[in-house]
């Protein structure tokens, strides 16, 4: 294990007592508790951490935060492995294992870096221009290009980690726990508001964590101590929820906010089993405070991408927060005063600062003055015009610059790091996601929050307020205002005094000139996507004026970092190339997520059995223990068939169907929708929603009904019983129960509010045991003595109430199988007992449970339709040959008018018929297309399709139902069904195959 040779001996927010071993690219290292992977790598002198996306150029750690474009790592191995994490955000834990992404075979020798040698041949839009023709080959090219440009690998195995989600509400949600966010939280929290304070880092404090310990003070306290006090006070407030390690990633409508909390990521293998790895928070906030800070803007200069070149604020963070030297000889390059803080801190830590190269002609602020006092050379009016070094920067060439051009000879300064700053860009991402409009401020070249349409306020650096005192003041103000708007009168909050050096104005420089011949030295704008200034200008020349097109053409701002460090520079350089003002070009749309969120977190616990609710009948456990194979019908699980040992589906279905035709079959029909309808106008409601007439249905009788949509197409069907003069029980298909109830509610609430009728879903109140077959009456007779079962006393399509198998029951004599059938409805709690009683008593009749598959076969033999299988929303009653159920006398019913439309009356509509295959053993595929003339060349005319198809053991041949153009006019004709690899001749027949007069079910 190597010594942490770049680690300072004292200071910083790491615990040197807690050593953590980790591996990077196969080598062992050591870091401390409090480190990120990036800071630990810097501490170990690891400079080269990755390769760029396109040219595979060596790249080093560039930032200290979520904006990192270079240091992308694959974390972990095997199933839990995760690609493209930013090393700057990965908290170090013992046993961490990471590798660079996007380099092969290794980061030091990357074979694809050949791309870099031929980079002039790979300009912006190269892939579009080269590989888009012929279009058919793009898929092949794409595979090779992706292999070359791939960024990390997703694990092949299922993710073993657990993720959770939760919902939350609050009065004030604060995004960002820096000085502004903390003050806002204190102000809102003291007012008594429900506050959520979220920050993506492991501790609150924001940039204060990266300042030197003897730096700024707040209220006379060291900044970090003030942070600790504020945190402690907030933690003591019952209504304040502190969420560190939590990124506010999405700002949606109506202050709906997405947060991702990394619950145990920082614990590695020590994570407690009971906690999820990450938790997604879905928050509805009355008020939002955005205190998201600012992201340092890089200076764009020639050869600016060598490892060792990093943002000045990041250099300061590594030094002050993590106690590591970003280099031994660190050149500082700036256009503003803030970078002088970095120079001063480095100098104070004993690190050589060869010079501060300042693009401004005459920097006169207090910070440059202090640098001069400290003996740091300031090269005013100078710029870095080039660099050298292969796997790390070794020298910078510095020349006088003025008016955007090199104004004198360059000199060489040896260094092993360059800390540079082009100013700070307010992090307006969330503000913009929330549909806030941005405004551009010329003086600092920044986009700032403008008008908002949601209840939010911005404070601190994200609002363009960089000085600490202003951050605190703004935070206090917006925290109090947000609380007040949420209904909490805010107490006066004294503003703490601050001690902070004042800054002189910056000078906006979008592009540092170079003395190298054009085309020889590249200046990178977007590191992750290898976009150079040349690419930006090329795009402008080629006519890409829209910033959105420009983004996609050059790939600026794409990828995992979404251009956190490159977007604004890219826009500015594009604007200059187009000769337009920056605000006229604008920014690309900011979209969620702010930083990448794992799919696991979006899925949460909605996996496997929790993917969707599973609805079970009261008899479900019996089906399970008797080996039922289930099928999904809506959310219900229904037994499809009950295979015996060694039995396949066809054999089981055959056995079950024969039992129902010859003895007794028993079916769990509990899933059928049941709607209780009460009121004086109940019968009239049925008249209006069904095609047939209901007023004259006698109490105690049942009737089948067909329900149409307003378009006249069949929507649902089922049997409805009249329980009393003003009381009906409607049954619906299993999958349509909720829809039909909503349909009835909609009509009665919006169109017919005067009707005296109420509906309620009674589906789950009842367990429905359907016994079917010639022996069904014998069985029922054994289970009840309450009512006369003789055909005259209890006729088909009627119902009786009484005791069955010891419990109160409603027995309906209705049939879907075509056999003598009784549907016994009992309170759900008794369902299993009654089912079991039937099984026991029915044993001597060979009672056989049958599933939906046999049920479908039995009803198809009878030509009974299934809505949704034999219909598809384009089928009228006439198309089904069911004109008989459409009342000609009723003044109106839903869908009536559509039945007289020209299209519903025309000939040539697809209509229901039966099909017999010429070979009785051949079973057609459901969905098979029907043609009249199989020898036609494609595209041939398809005249219909098979809707239901089975092998009927009763008829000992295959049967099918089909919707065929003018089907009933084709009786006896031979048509052809398309099957995989062949056509099958079929004969058109009536759609009722068995007992056409219904003698069995009426018997």
């Amino acid at each position: 294990m190597k010594r942490q040779r770049q680690r300072l001996d004292v200071g910083a927010r790491i615990d040197r007592g807690q050593r953590l071993a980790f591996r990077f690219n196969g080598k062992s290292y050591e870091g401390f508790s409090g480190d990120t992977l990036a800071s630990a790598l810097v501490a170990n002198g690891v400079r080269l951490v990755g390769r760029s996306f396109k040219f595979h150029r060596p790249r080093g750690i560039y930032s200290a935060g979520m904006e990192e474009p270079n240091a992308l790592v694959q974390l972990g191995t095997g199933a839990a492995s995760e690609p493209n994490l930013r090393a700057t955000q990965v908290e170090l834990f013992d046993g961490l294992e990471a590798a660079s992404v996007n380099c092969w075979p290794s980061v030091n020798f990357d074979i694809w870096s050949l791309n870099d040698r031929v980079s002039s041949m790979l300009p912006a839009g190269f892939y579009y221009k080269t590989f888009m023709w012929p279009t058919g080959l793009w898929m092949r090219y794409e595979r090779a290009i992706r292999a070359m440009a791939g960024m990390g690998r997703t694990a092949r195995e299922a993710d073993p980690d657990r993720y959770d989600q939760t919902n939350a509400h609050c009065d004030v949600l604060i995004a960002g726990g820096g000085p502004a966010g903390l003050m806002a939280a204190l102000a809102a929290g003291r007012a008594g508001a429900r506050v959520i304070l979220a920050d993506e880092q492991n501790e609150f404090g924001g940039r204060l964590l990266s300042e030197p310990e003897d730096g700024e003070t707040i209220g006379g306290r060291l900044a970090v101590d003030w942070v600790a006090d504020a945190r402690a006070e907030l933690a003591g407030m019952a209504e304040v929820r502190l969420l560190p390690r939590t990124t506010v990633f999405g700002y949606y409508d109506h202050n709906f906010i997405g947060l991702i909390e990394r619950v145990t990521d920082h614990l590695g293998g020590a994570a407690p089993e009971h906690l999820p790895r990450q938790r997604m928070w879905r928050v509805r906030a009355r008020q939002v405070v955005l205190a998201t800070g600012a992201i340092e803007r890089p200076l764009i200069f020639a050869e600016n991408d060598r490892p060792g070149i990093m943002l000045a604020g990041a250099a300061r963070a590594y030094l002050n927060r993590y106690g590591v030297q970003p280099g031994e000889k660190v050149l500082v390059f700036t256009n503003n005063d803030d970078a002088y803080r970095t120079a001063l801190d480095l100098n104070a830590a004993g690190i050589v600062v060869p010079a501060v190269v300042d693009l401004r002609a005459d920097p006169q602020g207090s910070l440059p003055a202090r640098a001069r006092e400290a003996g740091i050379e300031i090269l005013a009016g100078h710029g870095v015009v080039g660099t050298k070094g292969r796997l790390r920067v070794t020298e910078a060439r510095v020349a006088p610059v003025s008016d955007g051009a090199v104004a004198g000879p360059a000199r060489t300064i040896s260094c092993d790091a360059i800390a540079m700053s082009g100013g700070w860009n307010p992090a307006v991402h969330l503000f913009s996601q929330g549909q806030g409009k941005l405004r551009f401020e010329e003086a600092r070249g920044v986009f700032l929050p403008g008008n908002t349409i949601q209840a939010n306020r911005s404070a601190g650096a994200c609002n363009g307020a960089f000085p600490l005192a202003v951050c605190l003041a703004e935070g206090t103000e917006v925290g109090a205002l947000a609380a007040a708007d949420a209904g909490f009168g805010a107490p006066v909050l004294a503003l703490p005094e601050t001690k902070e050096a004042e800054e002189a104005p910056m000078e906006v420089v979008w592009q540092v000139p170079s003395d190298r011949p054009p085309g020889k030295a590249r200046a990178f704008v977007d590191f992750q996507n290898d976009v150079t200034t040349k690419d930006v200008k090329l795009a402008a020349r080629e006519g890409y004026r829209s910033v959105e097109h420009f983004k996609r053409y050059t790939t600026t701002g794409m990828g995992t970092d979404q251009g956190k460090t490159s977007n604004i520079n890219g826009v500015a350089i594009l604007a200059s190339a187009l000769g337009e003002a920056i605000p006229a070009v604008g920014t690309t749309t900011f979209r969620p997520p702010y930083t990448p969120v794992s799919f696991g977190a979006f899925a949460g616990r909605e996996l496997h059995e929790f993917y969707a609710p599973i609805r079970r009948t009261p008899i479900h456990a019996w089906h399970e223990s008797h080996g039922a194979v289930f099928e999904d019908v809506g959310q219900w699980k229904r037994p499809r068939y009950y295979p015996r040992a060694g039995e396949g589906m066809h054999a089981a279905v055959r056995r079950e169907a024969i039992a129902a035709r010859s003895g007794i079959g028993i079916l769990d029909a509990s899933t059928l929708g049941k709607i209780d309808i009460q009121g004086a106008d109940a019968a009239e409601l049925l008249n209006r929603v069904y095609t047939n007439a209901w007023s004259k249905l006698e109490v105690g009788r049942c009737r089948y009904g067909l329900m149409l949509g307003e378009d006249g197409m069949v929507m649902d069907d089922g049997v409805t019983a009249r329980l009393a003069e003003d009381h009906f029980l409607m049954s619906t298909t299993t999958g349509n129960a909720a829809r039909v109830l909503a349909w009835l509610e909609e009509w009665t609430q919006t169109e017919w509010p005067d009707m005296k009728v109420h509906m309620a879903s009674a589906t789950e109140q009842w367990a429905t045991v359907s016994i079917s077959g010639p022996k069904a009456r014998n069985l029922l007779a054994e289970l009840t003595g309450d009512f006369d079962l003789s055909p005259d006393a209890f006729p088909f399509m009627s119902f009786r109430e009484g005791i069955v198998a010891g419990v109160s029951a409603r027995v309906f004599r209705i049939s879907f199988t075509g056999e003598l059938s009784f549907e016994v409805n009992v309170a759900a709690r008794h369902g299993l007992a009654v089912w079991t009683a039937c099984m026991t008593a029915g044993e001597k009749y060979g009672i056989t449970p049958f599933g939906t598959e046999a049920m479908h076969l039995l009803r198809a033999e009878k030509g009974f339709i299934i809505v949704g299988q034999d219909t598809d929303g384009t089928v009228t009653p006439a198309d089904l040959g069911m004109d008989w159920i459409v009342s000609k006398k009723k003044p109106d019913f839903l869908g009536k008018r559509s039945l007289s439309r020209a299209d519903t009356l025309r000939s040539g509509r697809k209509r229901l018929v039966g099909l017999f295959t010429e070979d009785p053993k051949t079973v057609l595929d459901e969905g098979a297309q029907i043609v009249a003339e199989p020898r036609d060349r494609p595209p041939m005319k398809m005249i219909g399709h098979v809707t239901s198809s089975y092998f009927s053991p009763t008829l000992d041949r295959s049967i099918a139902l089909a919707l065929i153009e003018d089907g009933p006019d084709r009786m006896g004709q031979t048509l052809h069904a398309s099957m995989p690899g062949r056509t099958v001749p079929v004969r058109v027949t009536e759609p009722v195959f068995f007992d056409p007069d219904g003698e069995r079910m009426r018997g």
């Binding site: 919902n167 429900r194 609805r615 009674a762």
Partner: protein, 206 residues
């Protein structure tokens, strides 16, 4: 005669009695099965309807959203402007149904016995709200929701009617009755049990 046949609760197949929750667990759940549930619909502006209901229940049903009322062991839950759920002790629903039917004779109203259509999952403990929040978007904070409040919503994609039965002050921690459709009950229970893994002290899911 009916009672000679065993009654099976919605959650009986899960064998919950075999794994009770510790008394001091951050959340506790139990099934409260078989209590009577009648759904009543009618027009509260119709004095005949209101008089009939008042005569049987001894109270005016709650007329404001989120409201519930408890009298003589019965709880009446506001479900909508013309809809109430009347919960009563197990077995009392048949007599209550008959009594209401008689009283409502000739009045436009609907009454349905849905005792078996739903079961109740009772959730209590200091983390009860956090547990429910994992799958439900209702705001149950004491500022907006308290003992006696009732709301309908979805939890883990199942429709629920949620009644807060105890506030933080009374029992030390809140308690909620979740009315859930019988067919969804096992799904919801298992989902809640899985969600509660985060609060050690609960039982391990089977």
């Amino acid at each position: 005669m009916a009672e000679t046949i065993p009654s099976q609760s919605a959650l009986a197949p899960l064998g919950l009695e075999a794994r009770p929750w510790p008394e001091d667990a951050p959340v506790r759940m139990e099934e409260h099965a078989h209590s009577g549930k009648l759904v009543l619909r009618g027009d509260h502006r119709d004095s005949d309807f209101m008089n009939a209901v008042r005569g049987v229940l001894g109270m005016t049903p709650p007329l404001v959203p989120l409201g519930s009322m408890m009298v003589k062991g019965r709880v009446v839950l506001w479900l909508g402007p013309d809809e109430w759920l009347i919960a009563c002790p197990a077995g009392a629903e048949t007599a209550l149904y008959a009594e209401l039917r008689t009283a409502l004779n000739g009045v436009h109203a609907a009454l349905v016995d849905l005792t078996d259509a739903q079961t109740i999952i009772r959730i209590s403990g200091p983390r009860a709200r956090d547990l429910i929040a994992k799958g439900c978007t209702l705001d149950l904070h004491p500022h907006t929701f308290g003992a006696g409040h009732v709301a309908r919503g979805t939890l883990a994609h199942a429709q629920i009617t949620l009644l807060q039965t105890a506030g933080d002050g009374e029992a030390g921690s809140p308690a909620f009755d979740l009315y859930v459709g019988r067919s969804f009950a096992q799904h919801l229970w298992r989902w809640l049990e899985d969600a509660a893994r985060e609060y050690p002290g609960g039982t391990d899911p089977a």
